[in-house]
Symmetry: C2
Subunit: 256 residues, 2 copies
């Protein structure tokens, strides 16, 4: 498995799923083999890729709770070179079901270490809007954290809590975890967005992606067709922005 990215932020609705799907699709379009792991009980990454959530579909829940091998639950998507481990509703119960399990934070990490399937160039994990055991499992199994940040007041407020949690995970659970970067999403043309961007760039400097994702209706239309935005409207500002972000990610990984 190539570099593993967790896309997390406990603030809700900040573009985690939209980034996961469209960044992965953009990397796949640049000839990389990409795997998305849907760790959100809402299963938005699963439905946003047009994968049916059927009753007995095995996915991320079964990897966590029934120790099913990752390779056995990978499914294809309509996009070439883009694969998915789907989420299901029973994932909502995983947190409580894992309470008594030994090394419960490492369950995904162990499943990744034991992976025997086809290699992937990148793995992206979509997380629920909480710093719960699902998100902690994702961070403990990852090399990089990508934070999606909506250019709004409440989103900025939650950032310090997120950074504190990541620091704790790095010291106690996963020393390999790097704070990869911050991607500004849903950036409108208004003073608030400019103010948030300035504050974030002043404080986090180079860690903030140069490319930002503009607010673009095509991004919220695409999931209703079950495809990434580039298959819905390749010329849209949203599709173009995610292609640029994919290139910037590859560049950041190369220079290390």
């Amino acid at each position: 498995l190539g570099p593993v990215f967790t896309i997390a932020n406990q603030k809700g609705g900040v573009g985690k799923t939209t980034t996961c799907i469209n960044l992965a699709a953009s990397l796949a379009a640049l000839n990389k083999r990409v795997l998305i792991i849907d760790f959100d009980p809402q299963g938005n990454a699963t439905s946003g890729l047009g994968v049916e959530k059927v009753k007995n579909q095995r996915g991320s829940y079964h990897v966590l709770i029934n120790k099913v091998a990752l390779a056995d639950v990978v499914v294809e998507t309509e996009c070439e070179d883009l694969y998915l481990i789907p989420a299901s509703m029973d994932l909502a119960g995983a947190e409580v079901e894992l309470v008594g399990v030994d090394k419960r934070e490492y369950v995904l990490n162990q499943a990744m270490a034991a992976y025997t399937g086809e290699p992937f160039d990148y793995v992206l994990i979509d997380c629920p809007p909480a710093l719960n055991l699902l998100t902690i499992n994702a961070l403990t199994a990852s090399d990089h954290l990508l934070i999606t940040l909506q250019a709004e007041f409440y989103a900025l407020e939650g950032l310090t809590q997120l950074i504190d949690t990541v620091r704790r995970i790095k010291t106690s659970l996963n020393p390999m975890l790097k704070m990869h970067g911050i991607l500004l999403t849903m950036v409108g043309h208004n003073n608030l967005a400019r103010q948030v961007e300035k504050e974030v760039r002043d404080y986090f400097g180079q860690q903030v992606y140069t490319n930002m994702i503009p607010r673009n209706i095509r991004l919220s239309e695409a999931p209703s067709f079950g495809v990434p935005v580039m298959y819905h409207d390749i010329h849209s500002s949203g599709a173009q922005a995610y292609l640029k972000v994919a290139q910037e990610l590859m560049h950041r990984i190369d220079v290390g």
Copy 2:
């Protein structure tokens, strides 16, 4: 305590906090005494009302875990007739800390039943983006559920899961709980929004509020000043919409 409303939706970023603050402020402007209980560990309702989150501030966590009386943790806000029980970061740990507690779903319900302070005309509870023990405590202590629904594809997808959970809570934990209504939020002028509105009104009929909240930048600016939008820009479409929603809520309660 007057009628208690839970504002919930496990989908993130759908306007729960924005609705809680601005609906409460609008009811207070219509001469009602209103209490907000912030049950979200992010504490956005607390900071959105300009209440400092100081280190040892007692609030909703202490009601749940230390059995502190509700009346002892009510604070004033800058708005007349609007009061708050603040959230704090330790609320994030409440879920795990309550696991061993007997009747853990009823802790808030019992605190409400024991309330001895000044009467309130309305109580609104802001919830985190999850159907976890905090949200379940809120629903078990409430008379009404108000669902805020962003006019987008993913938000619509999560609705059936939310309705199922509420039905289960009504049969097993709180038979008084009524599905009060659905409020459409961040409604833009585009086909997707019109399509979502049509689907929701076709399916839920009268339960959908006639008034909707438009997307309006003033609503996301107001929290950075620590005030409800009516104190930031009373003439904005956002402030006017929440005043209408407050009147519609009072009307719906009157006719029962």
